[in-house]
Symmetry: C2
Subunit: 323 residues, 2 copies
Protein backbone atom coordinates (compact mmCIF):
# COMPACT_ATOMS: atom_id res chain seq x y z
CA UNK A 1 0.00 0.00 0.00
CA UNK A 2 1.19 3.50 -0.70
CA UNK A 3 1.76 5.48 2.47
CA UNK A 4 -0.08 8.30 0.74
CA UNK A 5 -3.46 6.65 1.01
CA UNK A 6 -3.29 4.99 4.41
CA UNK A 7 -6.80 4.08 5.50
CA UNK A 8 -6.20 5.19 9.08
CA UNK A 9 -8.86 5.88 11.64
CA UNK A 10 -9.68 9.26 13.13
CA UNK A 11 -7.76 10.84 16.02
CA UNK A 12 -4.84 13.16 16.60
CA UNK A 13 -2.23 10.41 16.65
CA UNK A 14 -3.37 9.06 13.32
CA UNK A 15 -3.60 12.51 11.76
CA UNK A 16 0.02 12.94 12.74
CA UNK A 17 1.06 9.55 11.34
CA UNK A 18 -0.74 10.45 8.11
CA UNK A 19 1.14 13.78 7.90
CA UNK A 20 4.44 11.97 8.47
CA UNK A 21 3.63 9.34 5.84
CA UNK A 22 2.81 12.09 3.34
CA UNK A 23 6.06 13.91 3.99
CA UNK A 24 8.14 10.72 3.80
CA UNK A 25 6.59 9.42 0.59
CA UNK A 26 8.61 6.38 -0.59
CA UNK A 27 11.03 6.87 2.34
CA UNK A 28 8.29 5.38 4.59
CA UNK A 29 6.56 2.00 4.31
CA UNK A 30 3.63 0.37 6.19
CA UNK A 31 3.29 3.36 8.51
CA UNK A 32 0.14 3.09 10.63
CA UNK A 33 0.21 -0.69 10.90
CA UNK A 34 0.90 -2.39 14.23
CA UNK A 35 3.98 -4.06 12.80
CA UNK A 36 6.59 -3.70 10.11
CA UNK A 37 7.09 -6.72 7.89
CA UNK A 38 10.42 -7.67 6.34
CA UNK A 39 10.76 -10.59 3.96
CA UNK A 40 14.11 -12.34 4.17
CA UNK A 41 14.75 -15.43 2.09
CA UNK A 42 11.21 -16.74 2.41
CA UNK A 43 10.72 -15.90 6.09
CA UNK A 44 8.60 -12.94 7.13
CA UNK A 45 9.95 -11.02 10.08
CA UNK A 46 7.57 -8.93 12.12
CA UNK A 47 8.90 -5.90 14.00
CA UNK A 48 7.33 -3.29 16.20
CA UNK A 49 8.56 -0.56 18.54
CA UNK A 50 6.85 1.01 21.56
CA UNK A 51 7.95 3.79 23.88
CA UNK A 52 6.87 3.97 27.55
CA UNK A 53 7.71 7.12 29.47
CA UNK A 54 7.46 7.98 33.14
CA UNK A 55 4.59 10.35 33.75
CA UNK A 56 2.91 9.48 30.45
CA UNK A 57 2.64 5.67 30.63
CA UNK A 58 3.40 4.90 34.24
CA UNK A 59 4.11 6.47 37.60
CA UNK A 60 7.06 4.97 39.41
CA UNK A 61 5.04 5.08 42.66
CA UNK A 62 2.40 2.65 41.37
CA UNK A 63 4.60 -0.12 40.08
CA UNK A 64 7.75 -1.89 41.18
CA UNK A 65 10.75 -1.45 38.88
CA UNK A 66 10.38 -5.05 37.72
CA UNK A 67 6.73 -4.38 36.86
CA UNK A 68 7.67 -1.25 34.90
CA UNK A 69 9.99 -3.38 32.80
CA UNK A 70 7.52 -6.25 32.43
CA UNK A 71 4.63 -4.00 31.43
CA UNK A 72 6.63 -1.96 28.92
CA UNK A 73 7.92 -5.13 27.29
CA UNK A 74 4.52 -6.83 27.18
CA UNK A 75 2.96 -3.74 25.57
CA UNK A 76 5.39 -4.13 22.69
CA UNK A 77 5.24 -7.95 22.58
CA UNK A 78 1.48 -7.62 22.23
CA UNK A 79 2.02 -6.30 18.70
CA UNK A 80 3.62 -9.64 17.81
CA UNK A 81 0.54 -11.40 19.23
CA UNK A 82 -1.67 -9.20 17.02
CA UNK A 83 0.29 -10.36 13.97
CA UNK A 84 -0.02 -14.00 15.00
CA UNK A 85 3.78 -14.13 15.15
CA UNK A 86 6.13 -16.21 17.26
CA UNK A 87 8.51 -14.16 19.40
CA UNK A 88 12.24 -14.20 18.64
CA UNK A 89 13.26 -11.49 21.08
CA UNK A 90 13.52 -7.78 21.75
CA UNK A 91 15.89 -4.84 22.03
CA UNK A 92 15.49 -2.41 24.92
CA UNK A 93 16.65 1.21 24.85
CA UNK A 94 16.39 2.57 28.38
CA UNK A 95 16.95 6.09 29.63
CA UNK A 96 17.65 6.38 33.32
CA UNK A 97 17.44 9.50 35.50
CA UNK A 98 20.87 10.58 36.71
CA UNK A 99 19.99 10.11 40.35
CA UNK A 100 18.56 6.58 39.91
CA UNK A 101 20.32 3.74 41.65
CA UNK A 102 21.88 1.11 39.46
CA UNK A 103 19.87 -1.62 41.20
CA UNK A 104 16.75 -0.03 39.81
CA UNK A 105 17.99 -0.27 36.22
CA UNK A 106 18.85 -3.92 36.74
CA UNK A 107 15.39 -4.57 38.24
CA UNK A 108 13.63 -2.88 35.30
CA UNK A 109 15.64 -4.99 32.86
CA UNK A 110 14.87 -8.09 34.92
CA UNK A 111 11.17 -7.40 34.35
CA UNK A 112 11.82 -6.92 30.62
CA UNK A 113 13.73 -10.22 30.54
CA UNK A 114 10.98 -12.11 32.39
CA UNK A 115 8.35 -10.79 29.98
CA UNK A 116 10.21 -11.75 26.80
CA UNK A 117 11.18 -15.14 28.24
CA UNK A 118 7.48 -15.77 29.03
CA UNK A 119 6.83 -15.21 25.30
CA UNK A 120 9.61 -17.59 24.23
CA UNK A 121 12.26 -15.00 23.31
CA UNK A 122 15.27 -13.26 24.87
CA UNK A 123 16.71 -9.77 25.30
CA UNK A 124 18.96 -9.49 22.23
CA UNK A 125 20.41 -6.03 22.77
CA UNK A 126 19.78 -2.54 23.99
CA UNK A 127 21.03 0.91 24.79
CA UNK A 128 21.46 2.64 28.14
CA UNK A 129 21.46 6.37 28.44
CA UNK A 130 21.22 8.92 31.24
CA UNK A 131 18.34 11.41 30.85
CA UNK A 132 15.89 13.49 32.88
CA UNK A 133 13.16 10.79 32.99
CA UNK A 134 12.72 7.04 32.84
CA UNK A 135 11.93 5.94 29.30
CA UNK A 136 11.85 2.47 27.78
CA UNK A 137 11.75 1.95 24.05
CA UNK A 138 11.16 -1.71 23.33
CA UNK A 139 11.53 -3.12 19.83
CA UNK A 140 10.22 -6.64 19.36
CA UNK A 141 11.16 -9.09 16.62
CA UNK A 142 9.01 -12.02 15.64
CA UNK A 143 8.34 -14.30 12.75
CA UNK A 144 5.15 -15.36 11.03
CA UNK A 145 4.36 -17.37 7.94
CA UNK A 146 1.12 -15.45 7.34
CA UNK A 147 1.19 -12.31 9.49
CA UNK A 148 -2.21 -10.89 10.42
CA UNK A 149 -2.91 -7.17 10.28
CA UNK A 150 -5.79 -4.72 10.70
CA UNK A 151 -6.63 -5.12 7.02
CA UNK A 152 -8.78 -7.95 5.72
CA UNK A 153 -11.99 -8.04 7.77
CA UNK A 154 -14.96 -8.79 5.47
CA UNK A 155 -18.69 -8.19 5.76
CA UNK A 156 -20.23 -11.25 7.39
CA UNK A 157 -17.24 -11.93 9.66
CA UNK A 158 -17.77 -12.15 13.40
CA UNK A 159 -15.90 -9.81 15.72
CA UNK A 160 -14.30 -11.52 18.75
CA UNK A 161 -12.21 -10.54 21.75
CA UNK A 162 -9.94 -12.75 23.84
CA UNK A 163 -9.87 -12.75 27.65
CA UNK A 164 -11.57 -10.12 29.76
CA UNK A 165 -11.54 -6.36 29.48
CA UNK A 166 -11.40 -3.35 31.77
CA UNK A 167 -9.04 -4.61 34.49
CA UNK A 168 -6.18 -2.25 33.70
CA UNK A 169 -8.55 0.72 33.35
CA UNK A 170 -10.16 -0.04 36.70
CA UNK A 171 -6.75 -0.31 38.39
CA UNK A 172 -5.86 3.11 37.00
CA UNK A 173 -9.13 4.53 38.38
CA UNK A 174 -8.27 3.24 41.84
CA UNK A 175 -4.75 4.71 41.80
CA UNK A 176 -6.04 8.02 40.48
CA UNK A 177 -8.49 8.03 43.39
CA UNK A 178 -5.58 7.50 45.81
CA UNK A 179 -6.42 3.87 46.60
CA UNK A 180 -4.52 0.63 45.97
CA UNK A 181 -6.45 -1.42 43.37
CA UNK A 182 -7.83 -4.89 44.13
CA UNK A 183 -5.25 -7.61 43.48
CA UNK A 184 -6.77 -8.85 40.21
CA UNK A 185 -7.09 -5.35 38.77
CA UNK A 186 -3.57 -4.47 39.84
CA UNK A 187 -2.30 -7.64 38.15
CA UNK A 188 -4.09 -6.70 34.91
CA UNK A 189 -2.27 -3.35 34.85
CA UNK A 190 1.13 -4.36 36.24
CA UNK A 191 1.55 -7.82 34.72
CA UNK A 192 -0.36 -7.95 31.43
CA UNK A 193 0.35 -10.89 29.16
CA UNK A 194 0.90 -10.58 25.42
CA UNK A 195 -1.46 -13.07 23.78
CA UNK A 196 1.22 -14.75 21.64
CA UNK A 197 -0.25 -18.26 21.67
CA UNK A 198 -3.77 -16.90 21.12
CA UNK A 199 -2.64 -14.85 18.11
CA UNK A 200 -0.93 -17.81 16.48
CA UNK A 201 -3.95 -20.04 17.12
CA UNK A 202 -6.35 -17.48 15.62
CA UNK A 203 -4.26 -17.05 12.45
CA UNK A 204 -4.30 -20.83 12.05
CA UNK A 205 -8.08 -20.71 12.53
CA UNK A 206 -8.39 -18.26 9.63
CA UNK A 207 -8.49 -14.84 11.32
CA UNK A 208 -9.00 -12.25 8.56
CA UNK A 209 -7.88 -9.22 10.59
CA UNK A 210 -6.45 -8.83 14.06
CA UNK A 211 -5.12 -6.15 16.41
CA UNK A 212 -4.39 -5.79 20.10
CA UNK A 213 -6.54 -3.64 22.35
CA UNK A 214 -3.89 -1.22 23.54
CA UNK A 215 -6.03 1.93 23.41
CA UNK A 216 -9.42 0.38 24.26
CA UNK A 217 -12.00 -1.37 22.09
CA UNK A 218 -14.05 1.81 21.58
CA UNK A 219 -11.09 3.48 19.88
CA UNK A 220 -9.26 0.50 18.41
CA UNK A 221 -12.37 -0.82 16.64
CA UNK A 222 -12.29 2.32 14.47
CA UNK A 223 -8.73 1.52 13.39
CA UNK A 224 -9.69 -2.00 12.34
CA UNK A 225 -12.82 -0.77 10.54
CA UNK A 226 -10.89 1.92 8.67
CA UNK A 227 -7.98 -0.32 7.77
CA UNK A 228 -10.31 -3.03 6.47
CA UNK A 229 -12.75 -0.64 4.77
CA UNK A 230 -15.75 -2.08 6.63
CA UNK A 231 -18.25 -1.10 9.32
CA UNK A 232 -18.41 -2.75 12.73
CA UNK A 233 -21.36 -3.29 15.06
CA UNK A 234 -20.21 -3.88 18.63
CA UNK A 235 -22.62 -5.13 21.28
CA UNK A 236 -21.40 -3.77 24.61
CA UNK A 237 -23.97 -5.86 26.52
CA UNK A 238 -21.95 -9.01 25.88
CA UNK A 239 -18.43 -7.63 26.53
CA UNK A 240 -16.40 -9.96 28.77
CA UNK A 241 -15.71 -7.75 31.78
CA UNK A 242 -12.93 -8.54 34.26
CA UNK A 243 -13.82 -9.21 37.89
CA UNK A 244 -13.73 -6.09 40.04
CA UNK A 245 -14.37 -3.63 37.20
CA UNK A 246 -18.03 -3.18 38.18
CA UNK A 247 -17.03 -2.01 41.68
CA UNK A 248 -14.62 0.62 40.32
CA UNK A 249 -17.20 1.64 37.71
CA UNK A 250 -19.81 2.17 40.44
CA UNK A 251 -17.47 4.58 42.26
CA UNK A 252 -17.11 6.57 39.03
CA UNK A 253 -20.82 6.35 38.23
CA UNK A 254 -19.95 4.38 35.08
CA UNK A 255 -21.20 1.01 33.87
CA UNK A 256 -18.63 -1.80 33.91
CA UNK A 257 -18.99 -2.33 30.14
CA UNK A 258 -18.14 1.32 29.52
CA UNK A 259 -14.86 0.97 31.40
CA UNK A 260 -14.24 -2.30 29.57
CA UNK A 261 -14.85 -0.67 26.18
CA UNK A 262 -12.85 2.50 26.86
CA UNK A 263 -10.01 1.03 28.85
CA UNK A 264 -6.77 0.46 27.00
CA UNK A 265 -3.80 -1.66 27.94
CA UNK A 266 -5.57 -4.93 28.61
CA UNK A 267 -3.64 -6.18 25.57
CA UNK A 268 -6.35 -8.64 24.63
CA UNK A 269 -6.83 -9.38 20.93
CA UNK A 270 -9.63 -8.17 18.68
CA UNK A 271 -10.13 -10.49 15.70
CA UNK A 272 -12.42 -10.66 12.69
CA UNK A 273 -13.14 -14.35 12.15
CA UNK A 274 -15.13 -16.02 9.38
CA UNK A 275 -18.82 -16.71 10.09
CA UNK A 276 -17.95 -20.42 10.34
CA UNK A 277 -16.11 -19.69 13.60
CA UNK A 278 -18.69 -20.45 16.29
CA UNK A 279 -19.21 -21.86 19.76
CA UNK A 280 -17.37 -25.09 19.12
CA UNK A 281 -14.32 -23.28 17.68
CA UNK A 282 -14.42 -20.93 20.68
CA UNK A 283 -14.37 -23.96 22.99
CA UNK A 284 -11.36 -25.36 21.10
CA UNK A 285 -9.61 -22.02 21.47
CA UNK A 286 -10.25 -21.95 25.21
CA UNK A 287 -9.01 -25.48 25.64
CA UNK A 288 -5.85 -24.84 23.57
CA UNK A 289 -4.95 -21.37 24.85
CA UNK A 290 -6.55 -21.26 28.30
CA UNK A 291 -8.47 -18.06 27.62
CA UNK A 292 -12.10 -17.37 26.82
CA UNK A 293 -12.97 -15.83 23.46
CA UNK A 294 -16.21 -13.90 23.09
CA UNK A 295 -18.12 -12.76 20.03
CA UNK A 296 -18.80 -9.08 20.59
CA UNK A 297 -20.06 -7.94 17.21
CA UNK A 298 -20.30 -8.19 13.47
CA UNK A 299 -18.53 -6.90 10.42
CA UNK A 300 -20.72 -5.38 7.74
CA UNK A 301 -20.32 -3.35 4.56
CA UNK A 302 -19.93 0.38 5.11
CA UNK A 303 -17.73 2.50 7.33
CA UNK A 304 -17.45 3.41 11.01
CA UNK A 305 -18.23 1.72 14.29
CA UNK A 306 -21.58 1.56 16.05
CA UNK A 307 -21.57 0.68 19.74
CA UNK A 308 -24.85 -0.85 20.93
CA UNK A 309 -25.96 -0.93 24.54
CA UNK A 310 -29.36 -2.05 25.88
CA UNK A 311 -31.00 -1.48 22.51
CA UNK A 312 -29.55 2.02 21.95
CA UNK A 313 -26.33 3.31 20.38
CA UNK A 314 -23.71 4.99 22.58
CA UNK A 315 -20.64 7.18 22.04
CA UNK A 316 -17.38 6.19 23.73
CA UNK A 317 -13.74 6.90 22.98
CA UNK A 318 -10.45 5.09 23.31
CA UNK A 319 -7.20 6.66 24.38
CA UNK A 320 -5.33 9.05 22.06
CA UNK A 321 -2.05 10.65 23.12
CA UNK A 322 -2.58 13.54 20.72
CA UNK A 323 -6.26 14.33 21.12
CA UNK B 1 29.37 -16.31 24.33
CA UNK B 2 27.73 -16.56 27.71
CA UNK B 3 26.44 -13.19 28.93
CA UNK B 4 28.04 -14.09 32.25
CA UNK B 5 31.56 -13.57 31.00
CA UNK B 6 31.21 -10.58 28.73
CA UNK B 7 34.65 -9.15 28.04
CA UNK B 8 33.46 -5.57 28.36
CA UNK B 9 35.66 -2.56 28.86
CA UNK B 10 35.75 -0.39 31.95
CA UNK B 11 33.26 2.42 32.65
CA UNK B 12 29.96 2.95 34.42
CA UNK B 13 27.80 2.12 31.41
CA UNK B 14 29.55 -1.19 30.90
CA UNK B 15 29.44 -2.05 34.60
CA UNK B 16 25.71 -1.57 34.37
CA UNK B 17 25.39 -3.70 31.24
CA UNK B 18 27.41 -6.40 32.98
CA UNK B 19 25.10 -6.30 36.02
CA UNK B 20 22.07 -6.57 33.73
CA UNK B 21 23.59 -9.48 31.80
CA UNK B 22 24.29 -11.29 35.07
CA UNK B 23 20.73 -10.80 36.31
CA UNK B 24 19.20 -11.88 32.99
CA UNK B 25 21.32 -15.01 32.57
CA UNK B 26 19.96 -17.00 29.60
CA UNK B 27 17.14 -14.45 29.17
CA UNK B 28 19.76 -12.13 27.63
CA UNK B 29 22.01 -12.72 24.62
CA UNK B 30 24.89 -10.76 23.03
CA UNK B 31 24.47 -7.90 25.52
CA UNK B 32 27.33 -5.42 25.21
CA UNK B 33 27.81 -5.85 21.47
CA UNK B 34 26.98 -3.04 19.07
CA UNK B 35 24.40 -5.18 17.34
CA UNK B 36 22.12 -8.14 17.92
CA UNK B 37 22.36 -10.91 15.35
CA UNK B 38 19.43 -13.09 14.34
CA UNK B 39 19.83 -15.99 11.94
CA UNK B 40 16.78 -16.61 9.80
CA UNK B 41 16.89 -19.29 7.14
CA UNK B 42 20.52 -18.67 6.23
CA UNK B 43 20.41 -14.88 6.37
CA UNK B 44 21.90 -13.00 9.29
CA UNK B 45 19.92 -9.99 10.39
CA UNK B 46 21.68 -7.27 12.31
CA UNK B 47 19.69 -5.10 14.72
CA UNK B 48 20.57 -2.24 17.00
CA UNK B 49 18.66 0.32 19.03
CA UNK B 50 19.71 3.79 20.17
CA UNK B 51 17.95 6.39 22.28
CA UNK B 52 18.52 10.14 21.85
CA UNK B 53 16.99 12.46 24.44
CA UNK B 54 16.65 16.22 24.54
CA UNK B 55 19.04 17.69 27.08
CA UNK B 56 21.24 14.57 27.12
CA UNK B 57 22.05 14.09 23.41
CA UNK B 58 20.97 17.33 21.83
CA UNK B 59 19.62 20.78 22.60
CA UNK B 60 16.73 21.83 20.43
CA UNK B 61 18.29 25.32 20.13
CA UNK B 62 21.40 24.02 18.35
CA UNK B 63 19.81 21.94 15.65
CA UNK B 64 16.87 22.21 13.32
CA UNK B 65 14.14 19.61 13.82
CA UNK B 66 15.17 17.89 10.62
CA UNK B 67 18.76 17.72 11.88
CA UNK B 68 17.60 16.23 15.21
CA UNK B 69 15.92 13.45 13.26
CA UNK B 70 18.83 12.95 10.86
CA UNK B 71 21.44 12.82 13.60
CA UNK B 72 19.47 10.45 15.84
CA UNK B 73 18.90 8.09 12.92
CA UNK B 74 22.50 8.19 11.72
CA UNK B 75 23.76 7.42 15.22
CA UNK B 76 21.80 4.18 15.13
CA UNK B 77 22.54 3.42 11.46
CA UNK B 78 26.22 3.71 12.31
CA UNK B 79 25.92 0.42 14.23
CA UNK B 80 24.97 -1.28 10.96
CA UNK B 81 28.07 0.23 9.36
CA UNK B 82 30.19 -1.18 12.21
CA UNK B 83 28.81 -4.65 11.46
CA UNK B 84 29.54 -4.26 7.74
CA UNK B 85 25.82 -4.71 7.11
CA UNK B 86 23.57 -3.40 4.38
CA UNK B 87 20.65 -1.30 5.65
CA UNK B 88 17.10 -2.60 5.31
CA UNK B 89 15.37 0.11 7.32
CA UNK B 90 14.48 1.40 10.75
CA UNK B 91 11.69 1.84 13.26
CA UNK B 92 11.36 5.15 15.09
CA UNK B 93 9.68 5.57 18.48
CA UNK B 94 9.29 9.27 19.13
CA UNK B 95 8.06 11.04 22.23
CA UNK B 96 6.90 14.58 21.69
CA UNK B 97 6.35 17.30 24.31
CA UNK B 98 2.68 18.15 24.69
CA UNK B 99 3.16 21.73 23.62
CA UNK B 100 5.15 20.90 20.47
CA UNK B 101 3.64 21.80 17.14
CA UNK B 102 2.77 18.96 14.84
CA UNK B 103 4.92 20.46 12.08
CA UNK B 104 7.93 19.85 14.29
CA UNK B 105 7.19 16.13 14.60
CA UNK B 106 6.82 15.86 10.84
CA UNK B 107 10.13 17.72 10.35
CA UNK B 108 11.97 15.42 12.80
CA UNK B 109 10.62 12.37 10.99
CA UNK B 110 11.58 13.95 7.65
CA UNK B 111 15.17 14.05 8.89
CA UNK B 112 14.93 10.42 10.02
CA UNK B 113 13.58 9.47 6.62
CA UNK B 114 16.32 11.33 4.74
CA UNK B 115 18.99 9.61 6.82
CA UNK B 116 17.72 6.08 6.30
CA UNK B 117 17.10 6.71 2.60
CA UNK B 118 20.72 7.91 2.28
CA UNK B 119 21.73 4.49 3.66
CA UNK B 120 19.50 2.60 1.21
CA UNK B 121 16.61 1.79 3.58
CA UNK B 122 13.21 3.16 4.60
CA UNK B 123 11.22 4.00 7.73
CA UNK B 124 9.35 0.74 8.33
CA UNK B 125 7.33 1.67 11.39
CA UNK B 126 7.27 3.56 14.63
CA UNK B 127 5.43 4.78 17.65
CA UNK B 128 4.35 8.29 18.62
CA UNK B 129 3.74 9.26 22.18
CA UNK B 130 3.26 12.49 24.14
CA UNK B 131 5.74 12.98 26.98
CA UNK B 132 7.60 15.70 28.90
CA UNK B 133 10.66 15.72 26.60
CA UNK B 134 11.68 14.98 23.04
CA UNK B 135 13.06 11.45 22.78
CA UNK B 136 13.85 9.37 19.72
CA UNK B 137 14.48 5.65 19.97
CA UNK B 138 15.69 4.38 16.63
CA UNK B 139 15.97 0.67 15.92
CA UNK B 140 17.85 -0.23 12.74
CA UNK B 141 17.62 -3.46 10.80
CA UNK B 142 20.30 -4.63 8.43
CA UNK B 143 21.67 -7.75 6.86
CA UNK B 144 25.17 -9.13 6.57
CA UNK B 145 26.63 -12.39 5.34
CA UNK B 146 29.60 -12.13 7.74
CA UNK B 147 28.78 -9.48 10.35
CA UNK B 148 31.79 -7.82 11.96
CA UNK B 149 31.94 -7.17 15.70
CA UNK B 150 34.34 -5.89 18.35
CA UNK B 151 35.67 -9.41 18.80
CA UNK B 152 38.37 -10.86 16.58
CA UNK B 153 41.29 -8.41 16.48
CA UNK B 154 44.59 -10.34 16.57
CA UNK B 155 48.12 -9.37 17.57
CA UNK B 156 49.90 -8.12 14.46
CA UNK B 157 46.79 -6.49 12.96
CA UNK B 158 46.88 -2.82 12.07
CA UNK B 159 44.40 -0.41 13.65
CA UNK B 160 42.73 1.97 11.18
CA UNK B 161 40.15 4.75 11.27
CA UNK B 162 38.00 6.05 8.43
CA UNK B 163 37.46 9.72 7.64
CA UNK B 164 38.46 12.52 9.98
CA UNK B 165 37.89 12.94 13.70
CA UNK B 166 37.02 15.68 16.14
CA UNK B 167 34.56 17.72 14.10
CA UNK B 168 31.49 16.95 16.20
CA UNK B 169 33.42 17.51 19.44
CA UNK B 170 34.70 20.88 18.22
CA UNK B 171 31.19 21.96 17.20
CA UNK B 172 29.97 21.09 20.69
CA UNK B 173 32.79 23.17 22.20
CA UNK B 174 31.73 26.18 20.14
CA UNK B 175 28.05 25.87 21.14
CA UNK B 176 28.97 25.39 24.79
CA UNK B 177 31.01 28.59 24.51
CA UNK B 178 27.94 30.40 23.15
CA UNK B 179 29.23 30.63 19.56
CA UNK B 180 27.92 29.14 16.32
CA UNK B 181 30.45 26.55 15.09
CA UNK B 182 32.23 26.88 11.73
CA UNK B 183 30.18 25.36 8.90
CA UNK B 184 32.27 22.19 8.53
CA UNK B 185 32.23 21.47 12.26
CA UNK B 186 28.51 22.14 12.48
CA UNK B 187 27.95 19.73 9.58
CA UNK B 188 29.96 17.02 11.36
CA UNK B 189 27.69 17.30 14.40
CA UNK B 190 24.35 17.95 12.74
CA UNK B 191 24.63 15.79 9.63
CA UNK B 192 26.94 12.85 10.38
CA UNK B 193 26.97 10.00 7.88
CA UNK B 194 26.83 6.34 8.86
CA UNK B 195 29.73 4.65 7.05
CA UNK B 196 27.62 1.87 5.53
CA UNK B 197 29.59 1.48 2.30
CA UNK B 198 32.90 1.72 4.16
CA UNK B 199 31.86 -1.00 6.62
CA UNK B 200 30.82 -3.38 3.85
CA UNK B 201 34.05 -2.71 1.94
CA UNK B 202 36.21 -3.34 5.01
CA UNK B 203 34.49 -6.65 5.81
CA UNK B 204 35.15 -7.71 2.21
CA UNK B 205 38.79 -6.65 2.72
CA UNK B 206 39.08 -8.98 5.71
CA UNK B 207 38.44 -6.71 8.71
CA UNK B 208 38.90 -8.85 11.85
CA UNK B 209 37.09 -6.51 14.26
CA UNK B 210 35.19 -3.27 13.77
CA UNK B 211 33.20 -0.70 15.74
CA UNK B 212 31.95 2.83 15.25
CA UNK B 213 33.47 5.75 17.14
CA UNK B 214 30.36 6.94 18.94
CA UNK B 215 32.01 7.71 22.30
CA UNK B 216 35.45 8.76 21.04
CA UNK B 217 38.53 6.74 20.08
CA UNK B 218 40.12 7.12 23.53
CA UNK B 219 37.18 5.31 25.14
CA UNK B 220 36.00 3.07 22.32
CA UNK B 221 39.48 1.58 21.77
CA UNK B 222 39.18 0.02 25.24
CA UNK B 223 35.97 -1.70 24.24
CA UNK B 224 37.55 -3.20 21.14
CA UNK B 225 40.67 -4.27 23.09
CA UNK B 226 38.61 -5.90 25.84
CA UNK B 227 36.18 -7.61 23.48
CA UNK B 228 39.04 -9.02 21.39
CA UNK B 229 41.29 -9.86 24.36
CA UNK B 230 44.22 -7.87 22.96
CA UNK B 231 46.20 -4.70 23.68
CA UNK B 232 46.17 -1.66 21.42
CA UNK B 233 48.86 0.94 20.80
CA UNK B 234 47.38 4.14 19.35
CA UNK B 235 49.60 6.85 17.92
CA UNK B 236 47.79 10.16 18.42
CA UNK B 237 50.39 12.02 16.32
CA UNK B 238 48.95 10.51 13.14
CA UNK B 239 45.23 10.89 13.92
CA UNK B 240 43.31 12.31 10.96
CA UNK B 241 41.92 15.54 12.41
CA UNK B 242 39.01 17.38 10.79
CA UNK B 243 39.52 20.93 9.53
CA UNK B 244 38.69 23.57 12.13
CA UNK B 245 39.30 21.35 15.16
CA UNK B 246 42.70 22.93 15.85
CA UNK B 247 41.10 26.39 16.18
CA UNK B 248 38.53 25.17 18.71
CA UNK B 249 41.24 23.23 20.53
CA UNK B 250 43.36 26.37 20.81
CA UNK B 251 40.49 28.23 22.52
CA UNK B 252 40.23 25.39 25.04
CA UNK B 253 44.00 25.13 25.45
CA UNK B 254 43.85 21.59 24.05
CA UNK B 255 45.74 19.98 21.18
CA UNK B 256 43.65 19.13 18.13
CA UNK B 257 44.53 15.43 18.42
CA UNK B 258 43.22 15.36 21.99
CA UNK B 259 39.82 16.62 20.86
CA UNK B 260 39.93 14.17 17.97
CA UNK B 261 40.70 11.25 20.30
CA UNK B 262 38.18 12.19 23.00
CA UNK B 263 35.36 13.43 20.83
CA UNK B 264 32.50 11.03 20.22
CA UNK B 265 29.78 11.12 17.63
CA UNK B 266 31.94 11.45 14.54
CA UNK B 267 30.61 7.97 13.69
CA UNK B 268 33.75 7.03 11.81
CA UNK B 269 34.80 3.37 11.88
CA UNK B 270 37.65 1.82 13.86
CA UNK B 271 38.85 -1.42 12.27
CA UNK B 272 41.50 -4.04 12.99
CA UNK B 273 42.83 -5.13 9.60
CA UNK B 274 45.37 -7.82 8.77
CA UNK B 275 49.00 -6.70 8.44
CA UNK B 276 48.69 -7.26 4.67
CA UNK B 277 46.37 -4.22 4.50
CA UNK B 278 48.68 -1.37 3.53
CA UNK B 279 48.96 1.83 1.55
CA UNK B 280 47.74 0.34 -1.72
CA UNK B 281 44.66 -1.18 -0.04
CA UNK B 282 44.02 2.17 1.66
CA UNK B 283 44.13 3.86 -1.74
CA UNK B 284 41.64 1.31 -3.11
CA UNK B 285 39.37 2.03 -0.14
CA UNK B 286 39.52 5.77 -0.76
CA UNK B 287 38.79 5.35 -4.41
CA UNK B 288 35.85 2.99 -3.77
CA UNK B 289 34.27 4.72 -0.78
CA UNK B 290 35.38 8.34 -1.17
CA UNK B 291 36.89 8.56 2.32
CA UNK B 292 40.45 8.44 3.61
CA UNK B 293 41.47 5.58 5.88
CA UNK B 294 44.42 6.05 8.23
CA UNK B 295 46.50 3.58 10.19
CA UNK B 296 46.53 4.90 13.75
CA UNK B 297 48.00 2.00 15.67
CA UNK B 298 48.76 -1.65 16.21
CA UNK B 299 47.19 -4.65 17.86
CA UNK B 300 49.47 -6.66 20.14
CA UNK B 301 49.16 -9.43 22.71
CA UNK B 302 48.12 -8.27 26.16
CA UNK B 303 45.37 -6.07 27.51
CA UNK B 304 44.53 -2.38 27.62
CA UNK B 305 45.13 0.63 25.42
CA UNK B 306 48.21 2.83 25.34
CA UNK B 307 47.89 6.26 23.74
CA UNK B 308 51.21 7.63 22.42
CA UNK B 309 51.86 11.30 21.76
CA UNK B 310 55.18 12.89 20.83
CA UNK B 311 57.12 9.96 22.25
CA UNK B 312 55.24 9.83 25.58
CA UNK B 313 52.09 8.07 26.74
CA UNK B 314 48.99 10.11 27.62
CA UNK B 315 45.71 9.52 29.48
CA UNK B 316 42.46 10.50 27.78
CA UNK B 317 38.86 9.36 28.18
CA UNK B 318 35.89 8.87 25.94
CA UNK B 319 32.33 9.70 26.85
CA UNK B 320 30.40 7.60 29.37
CA UNK B 321 26.80 8.40 30.30
CA UNK B 322 27.18 6.67 33.66
CA UNK B 323 30.61 7.77 34.82
Amino acid sequence: MSPLDLPLGPGGEFDLIRAIAERLGPKGRHLGDDCALISVDGATLVLSTDMSIEGAHFQTGWLSDEEIGWRSAMGALSDLAAAGAECLGLLAAVSVPHQAQRDRVVAVMDGVGQAVAACGGAVLGGDLTAAPVWALAITVIGRASRPASRHGARPGDGLWVTGQLGGARAALAAWQDGREPAAGLRQAFARPAARIAAGQWLVQAGARAMMDLSDGLAGDAHHLANASGVALDVNLDVLPVAEGVAEEGARLGRAAVELAAEGGEDYELLAALPETFGASEAASFQSAVGLPITRVGDVRAGAGVVLHRAGATVELHGFDHFR
